[in-house]
Symmetry: C2
Amino acid sequence: MGPGPSDIHPRVLQAMARPTIGHLDPAFIGMMDEVKALLKYAFQTKNELTMPVSAPGSAGMETCFVNLVEPGDKVIVCINGVFGMRMKENIERFGGEAIVVADDWGTAVTPAKVEAACCAHPDAKIVAFVHAETSTGACSDAKTLCEIARKHNCISIVDAVTSLGGVELRVDDWGIDAIYSGTQKCLSCVPGISPVSFSEKALDKVRNRSSKVPSWFLDLNLVMGYWGSGAKRAYHHTAPVNTLYALHESLVMLKNEGLENAWQRHANLHQELKIGLEEIGINFVVNEAERLPQLNSVWIPEGVDDAQIRSTLLNEYNLEIGAGLGDFAGKVWRIGLMGESCKKEKVLFCVAALKAVLGK
Amino acid sequence: MGPGPSDIHPRVLQAMARPTIGHLDPAFIGMMDEVKALLKYAFQTKNELTMPVSAPGSAGMETCFVNLVEPGDKVIVCINGVFGMRMKENIERFGGEAIVVADDWGTAVTPAKVEAACCAHPDAKIVAFVHAETSTGACSDAKTLCEIARKHNCISIVDAVTSLGGVELRVDDWGIDAIYSGTQKCLSCVPGISPVSFSEKALDKVRNRSSKVPSWFLDLNLVMGYWGSGAKRAYHHTAPVNTLYALHESLVMLKNEGLENAWQRHANLHQELKIGLEEIGINFVVNEAERLPQLNSVWIPEGVDDAQIRSTLLNEYNLEIGAGLGDFAGKVWRIGLMGESCKKEKVLFCVAALKAVLGK
């Protein structure tokens, strides 16, 4: 019950252990089409380029920035935690100019600040922000932020690593242009690949770059030959065949549950966790209105030894909870309620274990 | 029996289906140390930075070039097939100047040409070449090429995607500075991660770059915080936990067989395949002295329909062989004898199936 990887259903683990076939085998190509269709459902999009990048969420992030940021591009980037900082690092490594919109850790991005930055920088090309900040547990208003970006003729890049499958997320309705996620959070698949989706507007920017993408592995102009539209799939790199079996199975399970039911389950069990934690005197970092149900950041109670408690939970209760990252290291615990880890019995167990180790 | 992914032993598939634990769990960190030690054995190196990149072989290639090539660096790159061309593409995307040493497809790199290029370009910083060219089946003399590089004060970058575990490869004895491989070839692990190893000399160049590495995900200065020396493992990205279980198991199996025994097995069964193919009139692309045992490129017999034969083999015999790539498309088949696919029964089956479908 850390910030991911979450628990994996035995169906997903068993799917992954199926015999490996070729990445250009017609049977595999058929499964690729199903994975794309299932990801479109999960993202709520009709974007044709909706696919898993063959590397973890950090590479999904890099896929968005390395393709969309051209040298000299002004990018408005919202920072309210570790992953907004990582976005800034990406922008600068690819020659972009980062215009930072800062909010306190543990709060959502403030739309009015983004609006002000867009007005102050009418030549900005991109607005980038984190929907669900995994380092703090704050959920930002992706719909409003994308409206602001669109109004100012900016492309939006959205980090949905922790949000996909856990809270409401509607790529097409909200007008998100480029989005990346992870498999090891609310999808409860193994870590190692990163679902992404790109609108036509975003792809136009990629196709019309004045310089080549400074990555061969992540260049969408090449990757589209394998994952793009059209029946023909040309070799680009060897796909992670077995991990894609696992993703397929986890997406089938999400579809069977129903996306909105999954969102509701995360919301409901977060309420149960909240009641349990507050009963033992543990307080949340994020205000209730901006709180993610699937990533619960709580203040470590005064006088408690962070590392020792987490170590006791792991060794004596077989329970992992997450440490704080960056500014929150040593101050915050992060309790994940993601996918398969978001179950009533796990919530009750987690509260009981914390109660016991804290002597409450 | 294509050019990879090769068949996977059930032990490896089952290892991959073990429950996912956290990428910072002490038990997982213990396994990481074992993976590093086993990879050092497979590469025959003491290099401390010997680790799997969390993405396929193409990302292993990119890890070498994006970290080692700085803007303006002259890089001597040997091209005798598709993967040498991909190296050139990498060099240029990261601002390097590629000095091409060309050899015919299906032949090894000519050391005298590399020597001449080093003399003509004394300011070159790097020599890059493919040890086992997967697109043609030619094996180049890595030992001699690295000697030439060293003599001219160049760092060597070696593509060992198809060679690792299948033919003699000695990173330390041969003085290789940076090397990358794949898991889905002679290691018979699933595709998706890429073993790499870097000498101290190579790492010094990475540490002393004048500009930041133009990738966040692959920047070794950051990745070393997770995979480098020292007991502490700091979060960089979420490791592909289950794929690493699989790599661990496949490396244990390689160690149990013995590296030199594995090389000998590939050599022996290549001889059996060769006899069988020649009996039905199929000829090799590469001269015997430069031929890889694990990747057998053969000329498609005159008048034979490439796609139809491969399709019949797949659909009626459940047997995959590889198509030609690039200049060899439609002209060449590539028969893989890699890892678990390199077994006597598979060689005999493959020859019998080809004999039947070709009506010989």
